[in-house]
């Protein structure tokens, strides 16, 4: 809401010389946040000048300029005439003009332009003779502002060369823009803002709605409120006041002061009738509508739309109406307007044609207007106000003000009759325990002070401080005040939030982080410690990404939750795996020159929602257990995942030697690091997964077989389709599975301090047998004395058969209670080899 300061000052006493900045600061204290401060942008010295001489000089470029001597009084410090070059010709010697002197500034689209004396066309031009456009007070392109053509004669008569023009031209005017929260419809008016300013500062407030209102005599224009389908039991219109003004000339121009206020408030002056209704709306917050009386045939009937009805609104859109839309109709048939939202072409006033006008000042239900406005994606100044609540008691005053202004500026006369179809319900009251304010806010409010504030904001209060509990009827302009905490907020707000002390509460204490949260931190720290960089990518993907990743048509990862209103139609789905969105981050890094890049991300992914719908039972009441269960179960599963993706060098080259490219073993190692960080033992099973190199992918599982995730090198085609560096490798694990498996207290085993015995074996095995299978056999055969074993060499070549290779294992043995003899070690090793031979046909070399 834009608030011209001088307009505000009409309804509330502003301190002498108050700045827009100060007003904005005062309004912040009562909850109206500053959005901006608008000024003319013209900075002085801007003074009256009288043209003493003007010499036309033709230039080489064919242009003629005027070399002028201008009397600017003492404003230039010397009293001598000021020499100024001017390109315009619409003025003459003797004219009074506006001169901006060096040091002054003018607004331009590029920002403020500071005026200085400069050499041009062979003269030193010390300032500028200004046009209305340069001063930002009009669109006139014709040239120089000659003061008598703009200002009233009596003003010009008082002007002398050198007089300051900033104030005279209204260039010192300021407009404060504030953000109005959606509960404060009444602050979409100068009336409301003025009242709030008064609350903030104590300045005297004069309600612009307290004007003499004609009670009316005789029968007015017929109006029927005929809402047969109220929304949520609330009639769409509970008050419709109609006034008629006849014989007005709508071709007359809107008075300059009104046009300027409208402009400053952000609305474009259009024509007298519309300008007056807009002006009243801005002043009092009551949207009005003006109909051409001659086009109306029957009574005004307010009703819901019928199936199949249509209306072309003033924005030239033909709209199919919904039975919930509330309409203004002519005689119940012809549709004139979407009530409180926008009028139609029928009934519109036309300057030069319309002479008699019917003014509608009505109160429409916020919910009904809001739904219609959203349904038709039709926002208007009227809808914005009705949706947030318009004062139902300002209706008559607003109509009166509009009638008065139309008669004053358009001629004509008002009908004595006033139609007021008034079905306003009684405003509800709130019982308030006056001590609640202190108990809620933590400030020790005097009960008298609480009462005083409630009355200050316009509440009617039944009862006194001694009663402790009083009955409060909030003012008509505050439909948002419906309960005791709402009233408490008013007390805190008016008394000042800055009075609230700071007290740290004593929390009951508890577990702090959950195990899952701690686990995710551990995983992230472990991966970063391994050299990986954490990134956070957007979760939006398109089906094309699934193709790029080489997912089969029936791959469950394709089954993704879809957004109804995605930011981009290219990416309407929510990722089902983190690997779907990591490629962009990797590519971006490579394209920016970071070639050796290992990324990880930890986030939840979204599995498909089931068929179940989540009920939306509404506000203020706890749904029963069954409904709550339905709501919960309709929310799709969103397990936490961790994914890594890496390319480039794992060990960088440098002065210390050559580097080593990152490969699939690194990625499998990182996947293991994740499990290790959580103390969870995982197993590896060679696998084939979409997106991965068919021979370079491994599944990780828990001991019980539960799948944790997979790691591998991306398939060369996937790498190529995604534009990733060759041999990009990746892994994705379900952290929820790991976290659940890690949620136990690990029990320590005692360490043996007896010496370690080591024995190597080389086994020839068929190539198809997985290392892990042989390892498992060796472990099983070796028994409890085996502490650890590792595969340290793989040999294939002349020394072994074509379909076999030789695996060299180093086995470490230790007993908890004694030093092992050579014989014991050899027996254990031989048992291990026997088992491997038996299970896999391994032959010791």
């Amino acid at each position: 809401m834009r608030v011209p300061v001088d307009w505000l000052g009409e309804y509330v006493t502003l301190p002498e010389g108050v700045t827009g900045e100060q007003i904005a600061a005062d309004l912040v204290a009562v909850g109206l946040e500053e959005e901006g401060l608008h000024t003319s942008g013209v900075g002085g010295p801007l003074v009256v000048g009288r043209v003493l001489e003007m010499t036309p000089e033709e230039q080489k470029n064919g242009k003629t300029i005027n070399w002028c001597q201008v009397d600017v009084g003492d404003a230039n410090g010397s009293g001598e005439p000021q020499g100024i070059v001017c390109g315009a010709h619409n003025f003459a010697v003797g004219d009074l003009v506006a001169v901006i002197l060096p040091g002054g500034s003018l607004p331009t689209p590029q920002g403020p332009l500071t005026i200085s004396a400069r050499k041009t066309y062979g003269h030193v031009s010390a300032g500028m003779i200004c046009s209305v456009r340069e001063l930002g007070i009009g669109e006139d392109h014709d040239g120089i502002l000659v003061l008598p053509r703009l200002l009233p004669a009596e003003v010009v008569a008082r002007l002398a060369p050198g007089d300051d023009l900033i104030g005279v031209l209204g260039l010192d005017r300021e407009t404060v823009e504030v953000n109005v929260t959606p509960d404060r419809g009444y602050c979409f008016s100068i009336r409301g803002i003025a009242r709030e300013y008064s609350h903030a500062t104590g300045a005297a407030y004069t309600d612009p709605a307290s004007l003499p209102v004609d009670r009316g005599e005789g029968e007015g224009y017929a109006v029927r409120l005929a809402d047969e389908a109220p929304l949520e039991g609330i009639p769409g219109c509970d008050r419709y006041l109609a006034r008629v003004v006849r014989g007005i000339d709508l071709t007359r121009t809107t008075p300059e002061w009104m046009a300027r206020r409208l402009t400053e408030a952000g609305m474009r002056p259009i024509g007298l009738a519309v300008d007056v209704t807009n002006y009243v709306m801005l002043a009092l917050g009551q949207p009005l509508h003006a109909f051409d009386l001659a086009t109306l045939g029957g009574p005004v009937v307010v009703r819901r739309a019928r199936p199949g009805e249509r209306l072309t609104t003033l924005d030239d859109v033909d709209r199919a109406l919904d039975p919930e839309d509330l309409l203004i109709t002519d005689g119940g048939e012809r549709v004139l307007a979407l009530a409180g939202v926008m009028g139609g072409e029928d009934g519109e006033v036309t300057p030069g044609v319309t002479t008699d006008v019917l003014i509608e000042s009505a109160h429409f239900d916020a919910r009904s207007v809001g739904r219609t406005s959203r349904r038709h994606r039709l926002s208007s100044e009227a809808a914005k106000r009705f949706e947030r609540g318009v004062d139902p008691d300002v209706t008559a005053a607003a109509a009166q003000l509009a009638v008065d202004l139309l008669v004053e500026h358009g001629g004509g006369s008002a009908d004595p009759a006033v139609t007021d179809a008034d079905q306003r319900p009684e405003r509800p009251v709130v019982d308030l325990d006056l001590t609640l304010a202190s108990r809620y806010v933590g400030v020790n409010y005097d009960l008298q002070r609480v009462l005083e504030i409630l009355r200050l904001i316009g509440c009617e209060v039944q009862g006194e401080a001694a009663d402790r509990v009083v009955t409060v009827r909030p003012p008509s302009w505050r439909p948002d005040l419906t309960d005791a905490p709402g009233l408490v907020e008013e007390v805190a707000r008016i008394d000042g939030y800055d009075k609230i002390p700071s007290v740290v509460p004593r929390a009951v204490g508890g577990r702090g982080l959950t195990h899952g949260q701690r686990a995710r931190r551990a995983v992230a720290t472990a991966l970063a410690g391994q050299g990986l960089q954490e990134v956070l990518t957007y979760p939006f993907v398109g089906a094309e990404r699934f193709d790029e990743l080489g997912l089969e048509d029936d791959d469950p990862h394709r089954d993704a939750v879809r957004l109804a209103n995605p930011l981009s139609d290219e990416a309407p789905l929510l990722r089902t795996a983190l690997l779907q969105t990591l490629p962009e981050a990797l590519r971006r890094n490579v394209s920016r020159g970071s070639r050796d890049v290992a990324l990880f991300e930890i986030d939840s992914v979204t599995l498909p929602a089931g068929e179940a719908l989540a009920p939306v039972p509404g506000v203020g009441e706890q749904p029963d257990d069954e409904v709550l269960a339905q709501i919960r179960s309709a929310v799709p599963a969103q397990p936490w995942h961790v994914a890594v993706m890496a390319a480039g060098q794992a060990d960088r080259s440098g002065w210390w030697g050559r580097g080593r490219p990152v490969d699939v073993v690194d990625v499998v190692g990182w996947a293991h690091a994740v499990a290790d960080a959580l103390g969870v033992e995982v197993r590896r099973e060679q696998s084939e997964r979409a997106s991965f190199h068919p021979g370079r992918c491994v599944d990780l599982t828990l001991a019980d077989g539960t799948l944790v995730g997979w790691a591998g090198e991306l398939h060369p085609t996937v790498v190529q389709r995604l534009g990733l560096p060759a041999r990009t490798s990746a892994a994705e694990l379900d952290l929820d599975v790991l976290v659940a498996a890690s949620d136990h207290r690990t029990q320590a085993s005692p360490l043996s301090t007896h010496p370690l015995a080591t024995s190597d074996v080389a086994l020839e095995v068929p190539r198809g047998v997985r290392f892990s299978a042989i390892e498992e056999s060796l472990r099983a055969g070796a028994g409890e004395l085996l502490e650890s074993l590792e595969l340290f060499d793989v040999y294939a070549g002349d020394q072994v058969a074509q379909d076999r290779h030789s695996l060299a294992f180093r086995m470490h043995f230790r007993a908890p209670d004694r030093t092992l003899t050579t014989q014991e070690v050899n027996e254990a090793r031989d048992a291990a080899v026997r088992r491997a031979a038996q299970d896999h046909g391994a032959v010791q070399r």
């Binding site: 909850g31 404060r184 947030r388 108990r439 809620y440 009951v508 391994q530 957004l563 929510l574 960088r652």
Partner: protein, 374 residues
């Protein structure tokens, strides 16, 4: 290298005719010793010393020959000659041993000098990775809450509309609900949205855990804003909710003051301004004191806060009765407060990040500016 061992020669070798050797006199032995000592002293390295040993203590050295010559001497002279030669060989061996030690020490020292490496060049064979500044910031905020005795909760990103709005007193017709710029899940009747704030976890926590309750909720949230320098459709919040007997706005202010101090330094306080949110009443916007100018006027105006002395942080207030009712809490007995602030905003101010996009793009150079604890 075995130091000071004699070259073990065969007894046959050169042991034939002792009588053919030089006379075995004190003078001749002294001369041999002097020659030996000189050669030892002259040996500049271990190889030189080896040669000196061969020449002067080896099987064919004069002293070895003298030793063998003792056997050819008449009986009575043997003892004196033996003593003479024995002492002489002892002196030579001692000198050899000393020199050996000296030269080894010299060699060891030289090797260390030769092996010296210039380590002033940055290492980087395996640079350390980093956490993302947003997750670390959210953790720091959560830890500050834990420090006040709060618990940390979380909830789903794809959320039921009821939890995101209705449970929080956003009536389906209220303009505030429309102002949330919500991503809706298809089909519309699914009743699911991408949560527009972390506040639905308020309702989830109250329903699941009951009161008294002090929970903070870090998490990812979504609004249909295009990414630019100050907006992102995917962002993070930290939510706080405290419901207990006797909690007031003063407790809200105290909690925010603590958190502001934890994030921005000692003496940084919060400020409340009246505002409106459907799920709180009274409601407030919260600011924190600009940690750069601390509210002192500067010329030119402080760039961090724009000269206002305060930086906007988020929204807060006393939890609306309708929220408590929707979660089965008796508002006549329990009351409390809630707040929610942007993690991006907190990180941007804490670390002077001017462009939101740097938080989003995942450029590893951005991460590299920070440590693992920031």
């Amino acid at each position: 290298m075995p130091a000071g061992t004699d070259e073990g020669g065969s007894p046959r070798e050169g042991g034939g005719s002792a009588s053919s050797g030089p006379a075995l006199t004190q003078e001749s032995v002294e001369a041999d010793v002097a020659q030996a000592l000189e050669a030892i002293a002259r040996a500049g390295d271990l190889d030189g010393l080896k040669e000196a040993r061969l020449a002067h203590a080896g099987d064919r050295s004069p002293l070895a020959q003298a030793n063998r010559a003792i056997g050819g001497l008449p009986g009575p002279e043997k003892a004196a000659a033996g003593k003479l030669v024995g002492q002489a060989r002892g002196r030579v061996n001692q000198a050899l041993g000393r020199r050996q030690q000296e030269l080894e020490a010299e060699r060891d020292e030289r090797i260390l000098v030769e092996e010296a490496m210039d380590l002033t060049v940055a290492p980087g064979r395996r640079p350390l990775g980093r956490r993302h500044v947003l997750t670390v910031t959210a953790e720091r905020m959560a830890d500050a809450m834990v420090g006040m005795g709060w618990e940390i909760a979380e909830g789903p990103q794809v959320e039921a509309e009821w939890f995101n709005f209705d449970a929080l007193n956003f009536d389906k017709d209220h303009p505030a609900r429309q102002m949330q710029d919500t991503f809706f899940v298809e089909p519309a009747k699914a009743g699911l949205v991408l949560r527009t704030h972390t506040s639905p976890v308020q309702a989830r926590s109250l329903l699941e855990r009951g009161v008294p309750l002090y929970v903070a909720v870090p998490g990812k949230t979504f609004r249909t804003d295009e990414l630019d320098a100050t907006h992102t459709p995917v962002f993070h919040q930290l939510e706080g909710l405290a419901i207990d007997e006797g909690l007031t706005m003063a407790h809200l202010k105290g909690t925010l003051d603590r958190l502001a101090e934890a994030m921005f330094g000692a003496g940084i306080v919060s400020r409340l301004r009246p505002a409106y949110f459907p799920f709180t009443e009274p409601s407030a916007e919260m600011d924190f004191r600009c940690f750069v100018c601390r509210g002192e006027p500067t010329a030119p105006p402080c760039r961090t806060c724009g000269g206002t002395g305060w930086i906007e942080w988020g929204g807060c207030g006393m939890v609306h009765h309708n929220v408590l009712r929707a979660c089965g809490v008796d508002p006549e007995r329990y009351q409390g407060f809630a707040f929610g602030m942007g993690v991006e905003r907190t990180a941007m101010f804490r670390h002077g990040i001017a462009d939101m996009r740097e938080l989003i793009e995942g450029d590893v150079r951005f991460n590299a500016q920070f440590g693992m604890e920031i």
